[in-house]
């Protein structure tokens, strides 16, 4: 490594790491978040360029082709995908990271079969990376609707799964001990199988937690690969991977825990619980759901002082956010205060509702966390529930319900509740919702976008 070039390249890695961290920090504030990602992007570009320019590399053409093909595909896909398809998109890119980590580990094993430490680290990276890519692909297929989103529960799945994992690792360790590459073929295949077996029994709506988990795992796999690279010819690239991978590993684990906690479940329960596969037990609810017609609903809203909107997954599917924004505007034009109650796991991604509403141009000053707004429901004249179900289900306060203990939005404490949904369908958890039968609650049946549109028209007309 010539001295000057070497110093410049080293410096690039150090600065890139610094900027990564500052970028992540910037994410904690909506005012600075976008700047943060742009800076982090520039740092990433610099790190990649520095690596490419490092002395000693060969196969430049292949590298360039690979970067252009992969980069082009990823960029194109990310630009054209619909906002509602975001979760599966993140799953795919995450899987790609895991796959890349596994492939790097494979190359390290091929090249470094003599060095026990490097092989051990690579095996660990390969195990985690392979599980992550296989699992992420299944998550994608489920969210995309190409596989049924219900849990696919195979008999004795935990025993079979563990067995596959143990045998796979066994092949890897054996291959390393006898220094024969051929054992690594079944090693990788079985790991991919394990990733599939692990993810199939997980219900579609649990996928966000799982995606976040795989995200953290991919980070760890990248860090392990980095460990294997630090003593190689481009040690600083290894250190950068250790840092970025561990950052993501820690951040992702934390996010996963927060999400699971907001659903009042453990991560173990999400991954191994096959939630949604069981049917609800418990008696039927007294009373009936009462529909209201659009004009009545419109005037209820129009003459309210405070309207709180509680959106959920249904708003996302119906792509109703733009109409909801219009509804907000007409109501505000008539002097109504409109606030949004955001449940952390409403929808199918953490913070999903924030993204959709921000997309529609609703200022985040109007978006309130569960903790911030729960005390305000009793003051609300109308709560408008749009395609939310589980996150507003008061059954969570009742012992014995599958939702028991889940922190919910206390919408049932408002004076009036209007619920927009298509029919009698249950929420993700498959639990009846007591709210819909309450005296202060009325239903507005229909697709969320259509209903919101009709409400806007009715209010404008009056």
């Amino acid at each position: 490594m010539t001295n000057v070039l070497g110093t410049v390249l080293d410096a690039v890695y150090v600065v890139a790491v610094l900027v990564f961290i500052l970028g992540l920090k910037a994410l904690s504030n909506p005012e600075t978040a976008r700047r943060g990602i742009v800076y982090a992007g520039v740092a990433m570009l610099a790190a990649v360029a520095a690596t490419f320019l490092s002395p000693g590399l060969s196969n430049f053409l292949l590298i360039a082709i690979g970067v252009m093909v992969g980069g082009g595909l990823g960029y194109y896909w990310a630009r054209v995908v619909k906002m509602t398809a975001m979760p599966q998109m993140v799953a795919v890119f995450n899987g790609m990271g895991g796959g890349s980590a596994a492939a790097i580990a494979a190359v390290e094993i091929l090249g470094g079969i003599g060095d026990r430490t490097i092989v051990a680290l690579s095996i660990a990276g390969a195990v985690i990376g392979s599980i992550s890519i296989a699992g992420s692909v299944i998550a994608f297929l489920k969210l995309q609707g190409w596989l049924p989103s219900k849990p696919i529960v195979l008999p004795a799945r935990q025993v079979v799964g563990s067995a596959v994992l143990v045998v796979a690792v066994g092949f890897g360790v054996f291959g390393a001990v006898v220094s024969q590459l051929v054992w690594f073929l079944p090693f990788f295949l079985l790991l991919l199988l394990y990733g599939v077996l692990l993810t199939l029994p997980i219900g579609g709506a649990d996928m966000p937690v799982v995606i976040s988990l795989f995200n953290a795992l991919t980070g760890i796999a990248v860090a392990l690969d980095g460990f294997a690279l630090v003593s190689g010819p481009l040690g600083d690239a290894g250190y950068a991977m250790v840092i970025a991978g561990t950052l993501v590993g820690a951040a992702g684990s934390l996010l996963t825990v927060l999400m699971a906690r907001a659903m009042n479940r453990s991560i173990g329960n999400v991954v191994f619980g096959a939630f949604g596969a069981v049917e609800e037990t418990g008696g039927p609810i007294q009373g009936s759901m009462r529909p209201m017609d659009i004009d009545d609903a419109a005037s209820l809203l129009e003459y309210a002082n405070l309207v709180i909107v509680a959106p959920g997954y249904g708003m996302a599917v119906a792509q109703a956010q733009q109409k909801v924004k219009e509804l907000t505007d007409v109501l505000e034009a008539r002097g109504v205060t409109v606030k949004f109650a955001i449940h952390p796991v409403a929808g199918r991604m953490p913070g999903h509702m924030n993204v959709l509403l921000a997309e529609a141009g609703i200022s985040y000053d109007k978006l309130f966390d569960r903790d911030e707004i729960n005390a305000e429901f009793p003051n609300a004249d109308v709560v408008l529930v749009i395609g939310a179900n589980d996150v507003v289900n008061p059954a969570a306060r009742r012992a014995g319900s599958p939702l028991q203990g889940m922190p919910i939005l206390d919408v049932d404490r408002a004076k009036n509740v209007l619920v927009v949904k298509r029919g009698q369908g249950k929420g993700f958890a498959g639990v009846e919702n007591d709210l819909f039968y309450a005296d202060n609650c009325h239903m507005l049946y229909g697709d969320a976008q259509a209903v919101a549109g009709k409400l806007v028209a009715a209010i404008k007309k009056s």
Binding site: F20, A33, L57, Y75, N215, A223, A244
Partner: protein
């Protein structure tokens, strides 16, 4: 265990703390971009993939290395573009924003 690995362990410990502390301050509002943003950051794997392919000698190594580079590049560009799109929506300066269909 080589000295480099111990050093890397120091680094990993510190990075884990930094990640944990920095992230635990991100509000729920920004959890989606946080997820895709951290997705982008593990795209640093591309650097490792370039090293792997760059030092690959046998055709098998080259093939696997190429796969690694392609996947790594997808991770990094896709992760970036998605995050940027999401964050553009939170940007006050272009409120009506929203990328793509």
């Amino acid at each position: 265990m080589a000295a480099d690995l111990w050093t890397a362990l120091f680094i990993a410990i510190l990075a884990a703390f930094t990640g944990y502390e920095v992230i635990s301050r991100v509000p729920v509002l920004l959890h989606t971009p946080l997820m895709s943003g951290s997705n982008f950051i593990h795209g640093i794997v591309l650097v490792g993939a370039i090293v792997a392919l760059g030092f690959a000698t046998t055709p098998l190594e080259q093939a696997i290395g190429l796969v690694a580079v392609i996947m790594g590049a997808m991770n990094v560009t896709g992760g970036y573009a998605v995050t940027e799109r999401i964050l553009a929506m939170f940007d006050r300066s272009k409120r009506k924003g929203g990328g793509g269909p």
